[in-house]
């Protein structure tokens, strides 16, 4: 699959006052994928989105959206993009219907009440269509922002921290909408610092830290790396060296020989080794243990490592 819909090249952003929010960012988003941009607070996620959507002027570099430069051909570039911002911002006194219709007009599309109705229904906002925005709950306001972004039938949807402060039900609804959009060929870029969200939704994952893209990887590939598990056995008597019979790459001693750590993934089991084989071997070697526990390393661990590595 190589059909980029967004190409970001050499993007730098230094804010007035000298803060460098983005530093030489190169990133390609493929048509029709769900791309999750992960990073801690202040990593540059929102700045990156803002540059693509035209809210922030880049210091250097450029962005091409579906073949159109985001600055010189901003009309063509922006009409393809829907943006759901992180902050719940809206015109408090407008009704849901009016504000969503307004967004459609603002993006240069002819009125289409049927489409607005469809969007509102898919987000469970139809009953609230005549309510003023200020009477809505936080979760409903979030839905309105999504409806506004979808009102003009974008080909690319940016969701900036879509699930911050959102309850389980809305989260589920939202992911249903997102999947529906993806099935219709809409490209989705979401930022989050919830890793489960990325795990659940994304096709590819990018990690950004201190304004730099640290890693971009297919989720499946990333999950393989993360799929590794650890079995820790607490031994009765400490070992100084591993018995020769047990010598293998996956096994190591820890805690002054009181612990035996076995790192494994699906492979060992297939090769006829794995945990049960190990336990049999241990019994044969006469190594007793008083307790054991397993731990699955998560995306979170890798993420924290990636983000920590850089001083």
């Amino acid at each position: 699959m190589n059909d980029p819909i967004i190409t970001i090249e050499g993007l730098n952003k230094t804010y007035e006052g000298g803060f460098q929010a983005l530093s030489r960012v190169d990133l390609t988003i493929q048509r029709g994928e769900i791309f999750a941009l992960l990073g801690p607070n202040g990593a540059g996620k929102t700045t990156l989105i803002s540059v693509v959507c035209g809210l922030v002027n880049p210091t250097l570099g450029h962005v091409v959206v579906d073949g159109y430069d985001s600055v010189s051909h901003y009309r063509q570039a922006r009409e393809r993009i829907g943006l759901v911002p992180q902050e719940l911002t809206n015109e408090a006194f407008e009704t849901v219907w009016n504000t969503v219709s307004f967004s459609r007009g603002l993006f240069g599309k002819s009125p289409n009440p049927a489409h607005i109705e469809k969007v509102l229904k898919s987000l469970a906002l139809w009953d609230k269509r005549n309510n003023r925005l200020m009477t809505l709950s936080g979760g409903m306001k979030r839905r309105v922002l999504i409806a506004k972004a979808l009102s003009h039938e974008p080909r690319i949807l940016f969701l900036d921290e879509p699930t911050a402060g959102v309850d389980v039900e809305l989260r589920r609804d939202m992911w249903n909408v997102v999947r529906g959009l993806r099935d219709n060929g809409v490209t989705i870029i979401l930022t989050t610092h919830y890793i489960e969200e990325a795990e659940e939704m994304a096709d590819r994952i990018g990690v950004i830290n201190r304004g730099e893209i640290v890693l971009v990887e297919e989720k499946a590939a990333l999950m393989n790396k993360l799929g590794s598990k650890q079995l820790t056995l607490q031994l009765h008597t400490p070992l100084t060296v591993l018995p020769a019979a047990l010598e293998q790459d996956e096994l190591s001693l820890a805690a002054d020989g009181y612990e035996l750590v076995y790192t494994y993934d699906g492979r060992q089991e297939e090769e006829g080794r794995g945990i049960s084989a190990l336990l049999t071997q241990l019994e044969k070697a006469g190594i007793g243990f008083k307790d054991l526990h397993t731990r699955q390393s998560s995306l979170e661990d890798i993420f924290v490592d990636l983000v920590k590595e850089r001083p």
Binding site: Y15, E16, C53, G54, L55, V56, N57, Y74, R75, Q76, A77, R78, E79, I81, L83, P85, E87, T89, N90, E91, A92, F93, E94, N98, S101, F102, S103, R104, G105, L106, F107, G108, K109, S110, K148
Partner: protein, 253 residues
């Protein structure tokens, strides 16, 4: 130019006017009527005619100008300040629209509102003083040009302001004093010579004078000077707005 976005902004702003009818239309009309009652009817009967026009009628153009200037500025400034304040401006800035379209939408709505207000005040004044309009086309021209120009100024102030206090600063501390001292309530001939000269530095004098000329054919300064002044204002406002959007001043970091 794509008309859908312009219409969307224009209609949203006009809807805001309808929601705030009391503040945006009723209240200025009532306060202007009070001026008519006090200055026109109560005090005006004791003031002699100016250039053959009764004092009550003489102040009508100046009062309309006063409302036109302050309301244009505050309407237009609030119209763009509020989305900036609430954060919903992200949508305007990320939309596939040109700066021109944004300005036409916002300033067009603010100016429409001011023109409507000016006409309502004109009609209201008819209840208090006998009105005559010598040059109706010129009257409308001045009305429209002033409304547009000062709505542009309001738009600039709305972008510049970073708090509600600054939003009120210019209408209250600049526009209102300049209008009061700009010959709204008197002919500048009535001032001592020194102050007549000083007054000529007040741009509002030219607006009031030209507007009054369109009613009664009398003016403090020449018609050409009035027209030149308003066009100068218009050009300066447009140039400032062009600069704002080119640099992203207070809109795009």
């Amino acid at each position: 130019m794509n008309l859908y976005p312009v219409r969307a902004i224009y209609m949203a702003e006009m809807a805001r006017t309808r929601r705030t009818l009391l503040q945006s239309i009723v209240s200025p009309v009532i306060s202007t009527s009070l001026y008519f009652v006090v200055f026109g009817a109560a005090i005006g009967s004791r003031i002699s005619e100016i250039d053959g026009v009764s004092y009550g009628a003489f102040i009508v153009p100046g009062l309309i100008m006063l409302m036109l200037l302050t309301q244009s500025v505050s309407n237009a400034s609030f119209g763009i300040f509020f989305p900036k304040f609430s954060g919903s401006i992200y949508e305007i800035l990320s939309a596939p629209i040109s700066y021109l379209e944004i300005v036409v939408g916002y300033v067009g709505a603010a100016a429409s509102k001011s023109i409507l207000l000016g006409l309502i005040i004109l009609l209201t004044s008819n209840f208090f003083v006998p009105l005559e309009i010598a040059h109706p086309i010129w009257m409308l021209t001045f009305l429209v040009l002033t409304a547009v120009t000062f709505s542009l100024l309001g738009f600039i102030i709305g972008i510049w302001a970073d708090g509600f206090d600054k939003l009120q600063l210019v209408p209250l501390l600049v526009i209102t004093p300049l209008t009061f001292l700009g010959g709204s309530f008197y002919s500048i001939d009535m001032l001592p010579p020194f102050w007549q000269t000083v007054t000529l530095a007040n741009p509002v004098v030219y607006l009031v004078s030209g507007f009054r000329w369109s009613f009664y054919g009398i003016s403090d300064v020449s018609l050409a000077a009035s027209v030149a002044m308003i066009l100068l204002f218009l050009t300066a406002s447009l140039a400032t707005i062009a600069w704002i959007f080119r640099t992203g001043y207070r809109l795009k970091p």
